[in-house]
């Protein structure tokens, strides 16, 4: 699959094994030298009597990008939402096993969900800016967490927008509605909105699926930048995207009873070039899904 020519003259981005390997070699912080930021141990998720995830055990290293891949309905998004407890919003959702952030269990004892979500931000599938101005969107989190000082908030807005590579495009429309921005800009605004809260982890649930290829590449560049300081977990349907951006990859699949299971995980280069499981190989070579 060829991507159209990007603004900076990027042509074939994601063609063939040689290209993958070339990408990996140019990365500075691949593989497991980093500490474990997120961890699940035999984590299962139930919606009522339906088991959506079955005993998932996975370590997610800090300051890197981990891609969760797999066919539709295999529980990728549900898995992602374990880490900021967004599944709590669904009535009848229940978690078994252990889910950890920095070694601390998220579902046992007294966990302050609001505090947790400050540390674990989330970017959604469809850009979802609030119907307010650009700067109010970015300042939303800090304001809710008690920052009132106007100039301090202005600084946060600028810093976050710069980090999200959006400042140059919107610095003259900070007071205009965020809904007037393009889809790609809206998604980068949503990323800036998350960065303004200064999280440690950013969960991304198919962040580019509603965007065109050019906007997608910009988000991917941004993710690579952010991975220096943040732990990023991305759910994606797009195999090329997983290969391009991620350091680690985890392949999920559905069993007969429609529960999601983890088939295989490891460095992205290994998953894509030398998968151990036949099902992984079938999936990444496009034989199903």
């Amino acid at each position: 699959m060829q991507y159209p020519i990007g603004p900076s003259g990027i042509t074939s981005y994601g063609g063939g094994t040689a290209q993958f390997l070339h990408n990996f070699r140019n990365r500075t912080h691949v593989n497991g030298f980093n500490g474990v930021k997120l961890r699940t141990e035999k984590a299962s998720l139930f919606y009522g009597s339906f088991q959506a995830l079955r005993e998932i055990t996975l370590d997610i290293p800090e300051r890197s990008i981990t891609a969760i891949i797999g066919p539709s309905g295999c529980g990728k998004s549900s898995y992602l939402r374990l880490f900021n407890r967004m599944n709590d919003l669904i009535g009848g959702a229940r978690v078994e096993g252990r889910v950890e952030l920095d070694g601390v269990s998220l579902y046992e004892g007294s966990v302050d969900v609001v505090e947790l979500r400050k540390r674990v931000g989330m970017v959604f599938q469809k850009p979802n800016p609030f119907p307010m101005s650009v700067s109010h969107n970015v300042a939303f989190g800090p304001r809710r967490h008690g920052k009132r000082n106007r100039s301090e908030l202005d600084d946060i807005v600028e810093k976050s927008l710069r980090q999200a590579a959006l400042w140059d495009e919107v610095n003259d429309k900070l007071n205009q509605s965020a809904l007037a921005l393009s889809g790609g800009q809206q998604q980068r605004l949503c990323i800036a909105r998350v960065l303004a809260v200064e999280p440690e982890v950013i969960l991304m649930d198919e962040p580019c699926s509603a965007l065109d290829p050019v906007a997608t590449l910009r988000i991917e560049d941004l993710m690579r930048d952010l991975a220096r300081n943040y732990t990023i977990v991305i759910v994606t349907h797009n195999m090329q995207q997983a290969a391009r951006v991620s350091d680690m990859a985890a392949f999920f699949m559905m069993e007969e009873d429609r529960s999601g299971v983890l088939v295989e995980h490891g460095p992205t280069s290994q998953i894509f070039t030398n998968p151990k499981d036949k099902r992984t190989e079938d999936y990444i070579t496009g034989r199903f899904g």
């Binding site: 900021n84 967004m86 919003l89 009535g91 609001v114 505090e115 947790l116 979500r117 400050k118 931000g121 989330m122 959604f124 469809k126 979802n128 800016p129 609030f130 119907p131 307010m132 939303f140 989190g141 304001r143 809710r144 967490h145 205009q176 509605s177 965020a178 809904l179 007037a180 949503c190 909105r193 998350v194 809260v197």
Partner: protein
């Protein structure tokens, strides 16, 4: 042979739909036009600024009725909005689906269908008689609150529920509490819908006659306090139409009523639109 081609069907359907719309608009314009044409010539400055003096010819004007009407609108809204909005927020965001909320919803729906004179009797028994508020603006307003709560709750609940789930998720995922999400995301986004509900309620306050007849009395004197009796424009219109022969005065009162409603609706709609435009960046 004659047959309905898609093109012909389309044309017939368009004509019928267009015709139905035209009929609806014509009826509306006929009513408003008739009242305005008949009533406006009698609407003079002195008609607006003098108190009704009674008599078979309905001497005097409608100043006290205008004041009573606005007095009643303000008192009703002040008492109505806090519990109405609170209940709407509860039903939309906090209540699950259990026996309590089912009974609440059922009650709200049933109340919305009860004729207003029944509320009038209830208000008469409770506010006028038992609580000793007598015939007064307060009794009338409290009765209207009972009458209008279901309307406001339903419209506001729908407005809050129709805010996309993605806004709730975005706010919660940023570490906002549930109340912060409601206060800073849901209510602003639902405001146009809530405003529409409030306008509906204002319209009902202005138009309601039966239940005020038995709770506000019909005093034509200028209301001086919450416990003063009074008559709204609608009530005044009823008295003039049934107890006098001054058809022109009744029509003039009707014309003023229509204009007040038009002005209230237009200004609130404009404000709401401007607010929405600001939100959407148009």
């Amino acid at each position: 042979m004659f047959s309905f081609t898609p093109k012909l069907t389309q044309r017939v359907a368009m004509t019928l739909i267009w015709g139905a719309g035209a009929v609806a608009v014509l009826i509306l314009l006929a009513v408003i036009g008739f009242v305005l044409v008949q009533g406006l010539p009698s609407v003079t400055w002195s008609f607006l600024t003098t108190a009704p003096k009674g008599g078979l010819n309905a001497e005097g004007g409608i100043s006290t009725a205008i004041v009573s009407t606005f007095y009643l609108i303000v008192v009703t809204l002040v008492v109505l909005i806090p519990p109405g909005l609170g209940a709407a927020i509860y039903l939309a965001e906090y209540a699950g689906d259990n026996w309590f909320t089912r009974i609440t919803r059922y009650g709200v729906e049933t109340l919305a269908g009860v004729p207003s004179i029944v509320f009038g009797l209830f208000g008469f028994a409770l506010f006028v008689t038992a609580l000793l508020f007598n015939y007064s603006i307060l009794s009338g307003a409290l009765t209207l609150v009972c009458l209008l709560l279901p309307t406001l709750i339903r419209t506001s609940e729908e407005a809050i529920k129709s805010v996309p789930q993605s806004h709730r998720e975005a706010a919660l995922a940023l570490g906002a509490t549930k109340w912060q999400t409601i206060r800073h995301v849901l209510l602003p986004a639902a405001l146009p819908g809530i405003v529409t509900g409030v306008i509906l309620c204002v319209g009902r306050v202005v138009e309601e006659t039966a239940c005020l007849y038995v709770t506000m009395g019909g005093s034509a004197a200028m209301p001086t306090s919450l416990l003063s009796p009074g008559r709204t424009l609608s009530l005044h219109l009823y008295y003039v139409a049934t107890e006098t022969i001054a058809f022109d005065k009744a029509m003039a009162t009707g014309a003023v009523l229509i204009i007040i409603i038009l002005v209230i609706n237009t200004t609130t709609n404009l404000l709401s639109q401007r607010f929405q435009a600001k939100m959407r960046g148009a």
